[in-house]
Symmetry: C2
């Protein structure tokens, strides 16, 4: 892509939870947008969306819609990306894809700008945005990985419903309301809309995110394992994941245990985290300060706290990692990749 004053941007899935946040983030960051083309399925076409005080009409996402586009940011589901991303690339766009469609392809860079920005230049048209729960974890792991190496990771997640889109947000709100009013509820969205059974999320914890694989891990759990190894460029790291949905609207929390390769000094580890890009350490136990989902909502950073050495394993370290799953976990990471490309041109 040549250097320009302004870049034409297409947002695919513009009416979805992540698409909306992409548009908000482009505005908030004052991204040098030339033409903005908001695209969605035929069903959502015709809806009105505001960007910088101007009203845009959402158009149907068809191959021709990518004519003249510089950046195409996709977040309309894997099948839409599979179908339309190649069409966008053919027309000269760089695709930044939020879905699972291309992440593990060897020729597609899987990028978190704080962690592996050097991979961006290797793209052949498509750059993949990792899964939300992976992104925030690798942002927190990166400074420790660079300093000490990481042998293994054992992580349990506490994930917000917004990771399943607007329908899941609406379901949590409505279901909670009904339960407090002693009305009957009928779960329809979570844990996985397309599967036959649905479970109550209000006042509950559901140990299923995405479908299950044959090995007993869910696809979300496998994404965290495979993507973390790809992003850190290290397939020796042993990773165990348990992914759980809890009744939170925005902000994933993660209980992360790691074992480093080399021994570490606790104060040094803490200060490496504090100075790492994209990381904010919130860790003052006397003041009862630690990262929480409600504090991370609306923020771009990854918050790290409860940092402590394991009591038994000399190279074991625990931390609590929280970030806004639709911002750093999706919209902001995608815009951040585009910003990086614009700035390094």
């Amino acid at each position: 892509m040549e250097k320009k004053e302004r870049y034409n941007v297409a947002v695919v899935g513009a009416t979805g939870a992540v698409g909306q946040k992409i548009i908000e983030t482009l505005e908030k960051r004052d991204f040098p947008v030339g033409e903005l083309r908001l695209l969605a399925s035929a069903r959502s076409a015709g809806q009105q969306v505001t960007f910088k005080g101007q009203t845009y009409t959402v158009q149907e996402a068809v191959p021709e819609a990518f004519e003249g586009i510089d950046f195409a940011l996709f977040s309309a589901g894997g099948s839409v990306s599979e179908k339309l991303a190649p069409a966008a690339v053919e027309r000269g766009a760089v695709v930044i894809d939020n879905t699972n469609a291309f992440r593990m392809l060897p020729e597609v860079p899987l990028v978190v700008p704080e962690v592996n920005p050097h991979k961006i230049s290797e793209h052949r048209g498509i750059i993949a945005n990792p899964n939300c729960s992976t992104i925030q974890m690798v942002v927190a792991l990166k400074p420790l990985y660079d300093a000490y190496g990481i042998e293994r990771i054992i992580v349990s997640t506490y994930q917000a419903v917004s990771g399943s889109g607007q329908a899941a947000i609406d379901e949590l709100k409505e279901q909670t309301w009904k339960i407090l009013n002693n009305e009957p509820i009928e779960p329809k969205v979570l844990p996985v809309k397309s599967l036959p059974r649905h479970h109550q999320i209000a006042f509950n914890a559901i140990p299923q995110i995405d479908v299950f694989e044959e090995n007993g891990f869910s696809r979300e759990e496998m994404k965290m394992i495979n993507e973390t190894r790809k992003i850190l460029g290290d397939d020796k790291i042993q990773i165990t994941t348990t992914c759980v949905r809890i009744p939170v609207f925005y902000g994933h929390s993660e209980s992360v245990y790691i074992e480093t390769e080399k021994s570490f000094d606790m104060e040094e580890a803490r200060s490496l985290l504090a100075s790492a890009p994209g990381v904010v350490v919130v860790d003052d136990l006397k003041e009862q300060e630690y990262p929480m989902a409600i504090s991370a909502e609306g923020r771009f950073e990854t918050f790290v706290g409860r940092i402590r050495r394991d009591l038994f394993h000399p190279r074991g370290l625990n931390m609590w990692v929280v970030s806004d799953n639709v911002l750093k976990g999706a919209a902001w990471n995608a815009v951040q990749i585009a910003e990086y490309m614009v700035k390094t041109r």
Copy 2:
């Protein structure tokens, strides 16, 4: 204690969340209650409580109230137990104590009937009920420990607010209601009522249960570590804990990773769990069946699912353990100890 037809029972903290469940459980299990004496602080004395259709007036808990009592079940906080349990023991009662007051004293048995019932007979008047999050974990660990040994445990909890008593239950309900109505909230109870700061629990996850120790772990996390080692009678087990409060009313969930000493066969491990006392395996991924807090509410058992071999460590196993924290985690475990003593007389 001599064998009797019926036993005089005192419930200390009879008006609290756990005390109420103890009374319900005594009724549900048809425990051979002779006289029932319901005790509480002077502030709660005079309240009326129903047991088997009969109304009882709550009396003030004073040393003389234990005259003629066989079993005294305490759940009114550590300071009440410290003050009154010795008075009950002096008067010939067996104290089953739900608080943290005596758990780690070497001469006090810390008992989960499915795990170490043989310790009951060693008591010198006081038997301690472990912490709720410990109890359900050791019930699930016991069959695996016996068969394979356990080298290490890494657990992250998803704990219900009822663990902090009725005030926390009320706070979650009221706070949720206000947030849905866009009214301002003022947290007053969670995470720890007596500490200066309080945080929103509705639609949030709070990584603090009880106060923090100097080592960076919370007291709840230290309880899980120390009590598990005492109950299993094995101080070689390495344990890492992260305890988190989530917006659930009843039922603690736990993401438990273990490494066994000997290698295990996955199907055998699963069948050992399925036949273990107090354990119900709920683990059918095709049918999307796994333990959940809302399904465990009101049940005495510990539910185990998401049982799977680690993908990297040959002796690593993950599971998801759920139980009703005020029943198996408190009231039922206490009554169960009394039942065991009555039956084995």
